[in-house]
């Protein structure tokens, strides 16, 4: 079913400088039948560049965003995204190792942020992501499998 229309519309990006964690997350997504395989960017700037290169109306990105990163961290990424919003719809899930409540609250001030997760992504957490109202549709047929 990887070629189904709705799943094609939503591309998943893992933005994390920690290569091991990114691999772990990629593995978890596959285990939870989230397809196709995510694109991995090791900082915010690369993620922005990827979005800009693949932007277009009707496109959708689901971004698993780490906060603490070199070059362009998660917060700066959000700010830049807000300043120059792409045509594509971008849904962001903060995936951080931080347990600081302030980060959680700050994340809520960004409209694109639809969820907040702690590292490492657990199977339960991915299930929850798949069931989020904003993105539920994209994973519907995958869930049915």
């Amino acid at each position: 079913m990887s070629g189904s229309a709705s799943s094609e519309l939503c591309e998943v990006l893992i933005v994390d400088d920690d290569k091991v964690v990114a691999l772990l997350h990629k593995n978890s997504l596959r285990s939870s039948q989230i397809e196709p395989a995510p694109v991995i960017c090791d900082n915010g700037r690369k993620a922005l560049e990827y979005i800009a290169a693949h932007d277009g109306t009707g496109k959708k990105f689901l971004i698993l965003l780490d906060l603490n990163m070199p070059v362009l961290d998660g917060w700066k990424f959000l700010k830049k995204l807000n300043k120059n919003p792409p045509q594509a719809k971008v849904f962001i899930i903060i995936v951080t190792s931080s347990i600081n409540q302030k980060d959680h609250l700050k994340a809520q001030t960004y409209g694109q942020v639809i969820h907040f997760c702690r590292k490492p992504l657990s199977a339960g957490c991915i299930l929850k992501i798949k069931d989020l109202e904003q993105v539920r549709l994209f994973f519907l047929d995958q869930k049915e499998q």
């Binding site: 990629k26 593995n27 951080t96 600081n100 302030k102 980060d103 809520q108 490492p120 657990s122």
Partner: protein
């Protein structure tokens, strides 16, 4: 035969001949003329020989087309063609030898070319012969024959084939003859019609009229009239008759007549009249609808006009509405017009809210927007037949009215005297009328809708305004994340925030940290519930103080007008405080009751239970405690005269949601039968709706009051003493006199001697730091001006006698006279310089600590998260990207990283601690 006998022959020809020789292109010269010619024309030979041909012809003075020209033209033609040319009807004026007058005569002329050996026309023989009389007779006969044919044709057309009836009657009125037109009308063959009298054909009611006209005709007068006749086969005819007497020698011998069938004409006339009436009605109806919208009176009137025009006995309109519960279509008669033949049904209760399905026959066509017609004799037994019988209906026509997609009603026409079959034209005309009605209904429905919408909008706007602006509630609209998109004006009044200050901000920011989680949990219930009430929580006001607030949230995200969550909040600080206070009061009263003579009571107004606190063993008003504890204790012992008044006062106070305190005096019977004068003071506790739930109070003897007054005096004395003794900076400002008394503390703390400086302006304001002076002045002025203000509080800087700056918090209580005019202010100044310093230090330190904590939470957690994930991978054995060895390597790596981080943190923290110290 003689050789040159041609000349003699020429001379001997009995009709006139000329020999003409062509000369110039269009000229002919007479070369010879025979005697017959000379005789005919009266010319002599000399007159014509060698003359131009035109001069040789006799003149034709009366005729425009001259005979000479005719001949000249013929001659030229001969010359041109070389062939003989004949002139048939040549007219020439010739002198009558007998009378000597010129007479026109008809001739024929032959012009014969005589050619030479070369084939050229050398001469032309021109002959003229008179047309014979026989010839003229033939012509005349031909003309007569033609005339006869014409007359025959005319007879055929005018008499025989004339569609009108032409006939002859004898003086008795018997037919002598008639044309086919009449026999067709009478539907009887001519032979039978002959000798028949006209009377049997007359309509009985017109017989007299017809006879009258016939006798006029026999008397010799031409007469004309219209009357009804019946054909032999009994068909009715409306005939227009013209009777003409036929006179021979002054005597009338026959009567000739013409009968014109005007039946169709009359019918057409009737149709035209009807149609023009229809059009008039139509126009009247439309204009009435346009002018008056849909009004029952106007409809009634137009229904009458239409009903009469179409000759119906009843015209009515039924409205159709859907039953709000079942969706069934209910019909009700709304407008009705009746002729004298019909029984009015407008007051028939059965025709109101009648389910349309009850009359099966009409339902199907009407809901399909099709007309319905029925006549009595065709009806099967059923509801419709019952209606027909009940209302004496013979025929019915119903036309549906559709507004939008729905049947909004129908217009009906009943006939009570005949089983009328409506023709298509009538139905289509009436349909066009109802179409107008439909249009008017649609227009009215649309207007109604708009009006209703406007009213609803107005109402909701008013309601909204009333709620938002005039209500005591705080209204705001938030998004699902708690961001304000709208904040009502009374946020300013109740919490000190200007609406624009809060708009765009997150509500959680203002909620007490201890309450945030609770509020958040309750807030998220909105995803499942439409409305959620959030239990009391603390909300920070502009001044930074927390107020207790209770909020009801309504999810109107789907409402296009709101698109948010409406928060309805109420400041319940007072209630909460009261509740807290009550707890304290209870405790206090328990204690107090043991120490005083007062009767303390707590009356639960919901359960009507009264708890009385008093010194257990000692008696109150001389009663033993078991008597005091009885519920009816108060009722039984209050003075009978005071009881109704006190009860009334009590209920009034309880019933008024704004009153929370009651104080009253009455007489109360002591155990010894004498009455004590008591003062009763009670606090009314109310729930959030304002309903009184408890009344807590104390009943005391007047003597107790006196004792308290004494106590107050003592307290005042004590205050004065305290003021003298205290090292705090207390001030007492007599505003009218602008005289300030300050405690000794001033000198001690600020270094100023207070004895000589007594005025606010001359002493105090000078000491306030320049930057704050205006602020202090303005704030004081505002507080004094506001007749409601009881307190004043301000933080500002003051310049001490040694030139150092001190931060102070100044608080004052304003005393006012009856008019609200501030008369006195008593206050205290607190030097907060030190505490401010400490606070700033703490804030700074906090900031540093927070930064550290944030960093740590990220840095420390990173390898930990990695380890957790790797462990999971290892447990689940579901890895593709890494080998087991790699996993173990990363785990080891992460563990080392974690270790070094922790070491680092310990080091950092130690440094920070040193710095803070």
């Amino acid at each position: 035969m003689k050789k040159d006998c041609w000349k003699e022959i020429f001379e001997a020809i009995p009709f006139a001949c000329l020999v003409l020789m062509p000369k110039l292109p269009d000229e002919f010269v007479v070369v010879d003329a025979n005697p017959a010619y000379l005789r005919l024309t009266g010319f002599s030979k000399e007159d014509v020989l060698n003359r131009d041909s035109r001069e040789a012809f006799p003149p034709v003075p009366a005729v425009e087309e001259c005979g000479r020209d005719q001949i000249s033209a013929a001659l030229l033609k001969v010359l041109k063609t070389g062939k003989k040319v004949e002139i048939k009807d040549l007219r020439l004026d010739l002198r009558n030898n007998n009378t000597g007058r010129f007479e026109q005569q008809a001739f024929t002329s032959q012009n014969i070319p005589i050619k030479n050996s070369a084939g050229e026309v050398e001469v032309i023989l021109h002959t003229i012969r008179k047309v014979t009389i026989e010839n003229q007779y033939d012509k005349r006969e031909k003309e007569i024959l033609e005339e006869l044919n014409l007359s025959r044709q005319q007879f055929k057309n005018f008499i025989h084939e004339n569609p009108d009836g032409l006939y002859r009657l004898d003086l008795e009125g018997n037919f002598i003859h008639a044309n086919e037109g009449l026999t067709k009308m009478a539907e009887i063959p001519l032979d039978k019609l002959k000798k028949t009298n006209f009377l049997p054909f007359c309509a009985p009611y017109h017989k007299e009229l017809i006879l009258d006209h016939f006798s006029r005709a026999t008397a010799g007068r031409i007469t004309s009239f219209e009357a009804d006749f019946f054909s032999a086969k009994g068909n009715k005819l409306n005939l227009k008759i013209l009777l003409m007497p036929m006179q021979v020698e002054g005597k009338v011998v026959e009567v000739h007549g013409i009968a014109k069938d005007v039946t169709q004409l009359k019918q057409n006339e009737k149709v035209i009249v009807e149609k023009s009436r229809f059009l008039e009605v139509h126009a009247a109806f439309v204009s009435s609808l346009l002018e008056n919208d849909i009004q029952h009176d106007a409809l009634n009137e137009t229904f009458g006009i239409i009903g009469k025009t179409v000759n119906a006995d009843r015209m009515y309109y039924f409205g159709a509405d859907k039953d709000p519960d079942t969706g069934e279509i209910l019909i009700s008669q709304k407008v009705e017009w009746c002729s004298a033949n019909a029984i009015p049904q407008i007051d028939n209760e059965e025709l109101q809210n009648m389910p349309i399905k009850k009359v099966e026959e009409i339902t199907a066509p009407l809901i399909k927007n099709l007309p319905f017609t029925a006549i009595y004799q065709d009806l099967e037994p059923g509801a419709l037949k019952d209606i027909f019988e009940e209302q004496q209906i013979k025929s019915m026509l119903l036309l549906p009215i559709f507004v939008g997609e729905n049947l909004s009603g129908f217009v009906g026409f009943d006939d009570c005297t005949r089983q009328r079959v409506w023709n298509e034209e009538e139905i289509s005309f009436l349909k066009s009328l109802t179409q107008n009605l439909t249009n008017a209904f649609e227009k009215s429905a649309a207007l109604e809708k708009v009006k209703k919408r406007e009213e609803e909008l107005k109402l909701s706007e008013q309601k909204f305004r009333a709620l938002v602006q005039e209500g005591s509630d705080l209204i705001s609209i938030l998004n699902i994340n708690g961001y304000y998109s709208f904040v009502s004006e009374n946020y300013k009044k109740l919490l000190g925030f200007n609406p624009e200050e809060l708009t765009g901000k997150n509500a959680y920011h203002y909620i007490h940290p201890e309450d945030t989680e609770k509020v958040r949990t309750q807030f998220f219930r909105l995803t499942e519930e439409k409305q959620v009430t959030i239990s009391p929580y603390r909300f920070r006001n502009k001044e930074g103080q927390y107020r207790w607030v209770q909020t009801t949230l309504t999810n109107l995200l789907d409402d296009s007008a709101v698109q948010g969550i409406v928060a309805n909040s109420r400041d319940i600080t007072t209630v909460i405080k009261q509740a807290r206070e009550i707890e304290h009061i209870n405790e206090r009263y328990q204690l107090a009751a043991t120490a005083t003579e007062d009767l303390i009571y707590d009356w639960d107004l919901t359960s009507n239970e009264v708890t009385r606190f008093h010194r257990g063993l000692q008696e109150l008003f001389g009663y033993p405690s078991d008597v005091v504890n009885k519920r009816s204790f108060w009722k039984e012992n209050i003075h009978p005269e005071d009881k109704p008044i006190e009860k009334k006062k009590l209920y009034q106070a309880i019933g008024d949601p704004n009153q929370d305190f009651i104080k009253t005096e009455y007489r109360f019977r002591k155990a010894d039968g004498t009455y004590a004068r008591v003062v009763d003071k009670g606090y009314i506790i109310r729930d959030h709706t304002g309903k009184a739930v408890r009344l807590i109070g104390a009943t005391s003897d007047i003597s107790e009051i006196t004792a308290k007054r004494e106590a107050v005096k003592v307290a005042n004395k004590r205050f004065k003493m305290a003021m003298k003794a205290t090292s705090e900076m207390i001030w007492d400002w007599d505003i009218k006199k602008d005289f300030v008394t300050r405690s000794k503390g001033y000198k001690k703390i600020f270094g100023y001697d207070t004895n000589n400086a007594t005025s606010v302006n001359s002493f105090w304001l000078d000491k306030v730091a320049k930057e704050d002076r205006e602020k202090v002045e303005h704030s004081l002025k505002c507080a004094l001006k506001d007749t409601e203000a009881k307190k004043w509080k301000l933080e500002y800087r003051i310049v001490k006698a040694d030139g150092k700056i001190a931060h102070v918090v100044d608080r004052g209580y304003i005393l006012r006279d009856k008019n609200g005019q501030a008369t006195r202010m008593v206050g205290a100044v607190l030097d907060v310089t030190h505490s401010r310093k400490i606070l700033r230090k703490i804030q700074k330190q906090n900031k540093i600590l927070k930064e550290i904590a944030w960093e740590q939470s990220h840095v420390v957690r990173a390898p930990l998260a990695r380890i957790k994930g790797l462990l999971h991978l290892l447990e689940e054995e579901e890895f593709e990207e890494m080998s087991k060895e790699e996993i173990l390597f990363h785990m080891k790596d992460s563990t080392n990283e974690l270790d070094s981080i922790i070491r680092n943190i310990v080091g950092k923290t130690e440094k920070i601690n040193v710095r803070v110290r």
